[in-house]
């Protein structure tokens, strides 16, 4: 009898041969060794295929892995967000378009919206007031940076998009500077791109109102009280504004730092935002995810991927979220029309602040936890932490005194310069990040900016030590000036500062003042030390 073809044998092994033919083949196999071997080999092959495929590649996530991985992404994204915002502040120096808000009644640092307002006001001030010298400086540095960047940036981008936050930060920085080669600047009371107008470059716009009715082919970077996108932005939309409204299309991402953001139209990629009120209306569509820190959040539209929200107020969802919804906030409401394609994890103040309608659809798991607020002072761990921090600060102070006695003593004395230190401290605190970013956008300057950052953070940490030691000295009025006296002063001063820090509201202000004073003293001392010594 003639042998069967391999394909027929394969069909038989897959169980796909017609019953009568399968029977004939089985009969044949009894007598034919060659076909029997073939069938055995095919069977083994199938087994191998199945087994190989069943073992998923390492990267395949378990359900838990989904959220774990995503969380690590969030950190990266948040880091990117932080840099973007910082970058926004530097770019804002370039423009003088914003006016200082006249009404001061909302200038109340004790409410959440007041704090946000304070921040916006600071940006306003920064952008408009007395920065002429900085503007010139930034313009020169920026121009040189651009030239350097063109080569280096292209090289880096060509190496492929690695998904490391550090590299992504750099790429974001580059992405910001590269298109600005073909950058269009508009700086007026009201900047409008009319419906029939197309801007081919990246548009950097500053004014009271920025209104896009036409098409921007590059990115739109806007600083204004009101930013409205009614037309199309083909690149990313970066806004620093009081109010941002997108009812047109953004084909890139949105990075926003606004008091309110309303997305009414189409966003093709991610939305990163810090906003007092963030709203995706029922006509709004986000092609990827949302990462936001906001007061109140309303999601009525459609978000294709995950939503990660840190909210200080309420979160209302009545639209569709393609994947996970992760929120930390006061209250969460999911209406009947809400759909979550992945897991829901929420951290709320109280369990009864979670309102999930029966009709709401959640494909994955629900994990709602209560975030207890007042427990801080009740927990022994809190005191333990404080003790550890306190001891660490003392130790650092002592080490500083032993290793750099002259420097530490002198800086402590400079705290006594009072307003000079305080003013300079505020300037350093806000100006140093700007300087770092200016340095960072040149490839050569990147390591320098990292070093500056390390120095900056160290100085912020040391600020309380210098101020503490100064405070202690004022109170103790030691007769001598031994290391022991200095250290005793530090002990007392730090203790006071540590306790004061936990006074509601006032503590925060005091802490801020301490950081500024310390930083200022550090800067004053550096300045004095850098001047040629006058010999007597």
């Amino acid at each position: 009898m003639e042998c069967y073809s391999e394909q027929t044998c394969a069909l038989a092994v897959d169980g796909e041969l017609a019953p009568d033919e399968a029977q004939r083949l089985r009969d044949h196999l009894l007598t034919c060794r060659r076909c029997r071997e073939l069938v055995d080999a095919l069977r083994a092959e199938n087994r191998l295929l199945s087994e190989s495929l069943q073992e998923l590649p390492e990267e395949a996530p378990s359900p838990a892995g989904f959220s774990h991985l995503r969380r690590s992404w969030v950190w990266g994204d948040l880091a990117v967000l932080a840099v973007v915002l910082a970058l926004g502040s530097i770019t804002s120096i370039w423009f003088d378009g914003l006016s200082i808000p006249a009404a001061l009644e909302w200038f109340n640092p004790f409410s959440a919206s007041g704090r946000a307002n304070l921040l916006f006001t600071l940006f306003d001030q920064f952008a408009s007031g007395g920065t002429a010298m900085l503007t010139d400086y930034a313009a020169v540095v920026g121009f040189v940076s651009l030239l350097l960047l063109l080569g280096g940036g292209a090289l880096l981008l060509a190496r492929g998009r690695r998904r490391q936050p550090g590299l992504r930060l750099l790429i974001v920085l580059l992405a910001f500077s590269l298109p600005s080669f073909g950058l269009e600047r508009r700086d007026a009371e009201s900047v409008t791109v009319a419906a029939n107008e197309t801007v081919d470059d990246t548009l950097v716009a500053a004014g009271n109102t920025v209104r896009i009715e036409g098409v921007v082919n590059g990115d739109l970077i806007a600083f204004a009280r009101t930013v409205e996108v009614l037309g199309t932005v083909k690149g990313d939309l970066v806004t620093l504004s009081k109010r941002t409204v997108v009812s047109g299309t953004v084909e890139g991402r949105i990075y926003t730092f606004s008091e309110s953001l309303d997305l009414d139209g189409l966003l093709a990629h991610n939305l990163y935002g810090v906003a007092q009120s963030l709203r995706v209306n029922d006509r709004g569509h986000v092609g990827e995810g949302v990462v936001a820190a906001a007061g109140d959040v309303t999601l009525e539209g459609d978000v294709k991927r995950s939503v990660n929200i840190l909210a200080s107020g309420n979160t209302d969802v009545s639209g569709t979220i393609g994947r996970d919804l992760t929120i930390s906030g006061v209250s969460l409401t999911l209406t009947n029309t809400a759909r979550v394609g992945g897991n829901l994890s929420a951290r709320l103040r109280q369990m009864n602040e979670a309102h999930i309608a029966d009709g709401a659809t959640i494909a994955g798991k629900r994990d709602i936890q209560v975030h207890v607020r007042e427990s801080q002072f009740v927990r022994p761990r809190f005191y333990f932490h404080q003790a550890v921090w306190f001891a660490a600060a003392l130790l650092v102070g002592w080490l500083g005194l032993v290793l750099f006695p002259a420097f530490f003593r002198a800086t402590t004395q400079e705290v006594g310069s009072g307003w000079l230190s305080l003013g300079l401290g505020v300037a350093v605190l806000t100006g140093a990040p700007v300087a770092m970013i200016v340095a960072a956008i040149t490839l050569v300057g990147f390591p320098i900016s990292l070093m500056l950052l390390a120095l900056y953070l160290t100085a912020i940490y040391l600020a309380k030590i210098w101020v503490g030691a100064f405070l202690g000295q004022i109170l103790l009025k030691p007769s001598g000036s031994t290391k022991g006296d200095w250290f005793l002063g530090l002990l007392l001063g730090l203790l006071i500062l540590t306790v004061v820090r936990f006074i509601p509201y006032l503590g925060g202000l005091v802490h801020f003042g301490v950081v500024c004073l310390g930083l200022g003293a550090f800067a004053v001392h550096l300045y004095r030390a850098s001047r040629p010594a006058i010999t007597a």
């Binding site: 042998c3 073809s5 391999e6 394909q7 027929t8 044998c9 394969a10 069909l11 897959d14 169980g15 796909e16 073939l38 080999a41 095919l42 083994a44 092959e45 199938n46 087994r47 191998l48 295929l49 199945s50 087994e51 190989s52 495929l53 069943q54 073992e55 998923l56 590649p57 990267e59 395949a60 996530p61 359900p63 989904f66 294709k304 991927r305 393609g322 994947r323 759909r339 394609g341 992945g342 951290r347 369990m351 979670a354 659809t361 494909a363 994955g364 798991k365 629900r366 994990d367 709602i368 936890q369 209560v370 975030h371 207890v372 427990s375 801080q376 927990r379 761990r381 809190f382 932490h385």
Partner: protein, 207 residues
């Protein structure tokens, strides 16, 4: 900074119920899911998300798209589970749904172009004594399994998708034919050729 330490480790709501769900047989979980019991749907998600993701991952060859497709499958499941009648095992039914989702995604990706082309000589018998390498050996280490997997991932879509549906999704030729919109003969030929191509690509490596 202390936010984390402030998070109370309070029991999750209805935790007991979700535990109970874990102990339930598949049949009762499905029945409850069919009447839109959120816990039951969550349990199905927990049990099968990995398997569905695996299929999507193989079929779409992209982690991002696979995650999208997986989410879509489970979202749609809320409605489509009503139509599950128990005539085939649930995992297989679910993988068929997932397969459909992926094929839609592939079609969307290649807008208009035909993803799965019929082989001209669908039913033509390939001779057993052809010069193609013989079927892959059975004794293969874990590392080599990874090689097999990688090689499958690099096969053209036309070959990869039916192969994955057959040997990962364990669908029958008829089911695959229905999903791909092809004749059964074509599916048989595609799978056969996929295997031959796989052997050819793995041949220099196998001992």
């Amino acid at each position: 900074m202390d936010a984390k330490s402030n998070m109370a480790n309070e029991p999750q709501p209805r935790e007991g119920e979700s535990r109970k769900m874990e102990g339930l047989g598949l049949e009762s979980v499905i029945q409850r899911a069919q009447i839109h019991d959120a816990q039951a749907l969550g349990e199905i998600y927990r049990r099968y998300v990995r398997r569905v993701f695996g299929l999507c991952r193989y079929m779409l060859n992209s982690r991002e798209s696979a995650e999208d497709a997986t989410s879509e499958v489970f979202l749609k499941l809320q409605r489509s589970i009503e139509s599950y009648d128990g005539s085939i095992p649930f995992p297989r039914w679910l993988l068929r749904v997932a397969g459909n989702q992926c094929i839609d995604a592939l079609r969307r990706r290649q807008r208009g172009q035909k993803v799965f082309v019929e082989v001209e000589d669908g039913a033509v018998v390939v001779e057993a004594a052809s010069s193609e390498p013989s079927p892959l050996g059975a004794v293969i280490s874990t590392q080599e399994k990874a090689q097999v997997r990688d090689t499958i991932a690099r096969l053209p879509e036309n070959y990869r998708v039916p192969l994955v549906l057959r040997y990962y999704g364990e669908l029958s030729y008829d089911e695959i034919a229905e999903e791909l919109g092809l004749e059964r003969n074509n599916v048989a030929a595609l799978i056969f050729r996929a295997k031959q191509e796989l052997r050819r690509r793995l041949a220099p490596r196998s001992k």
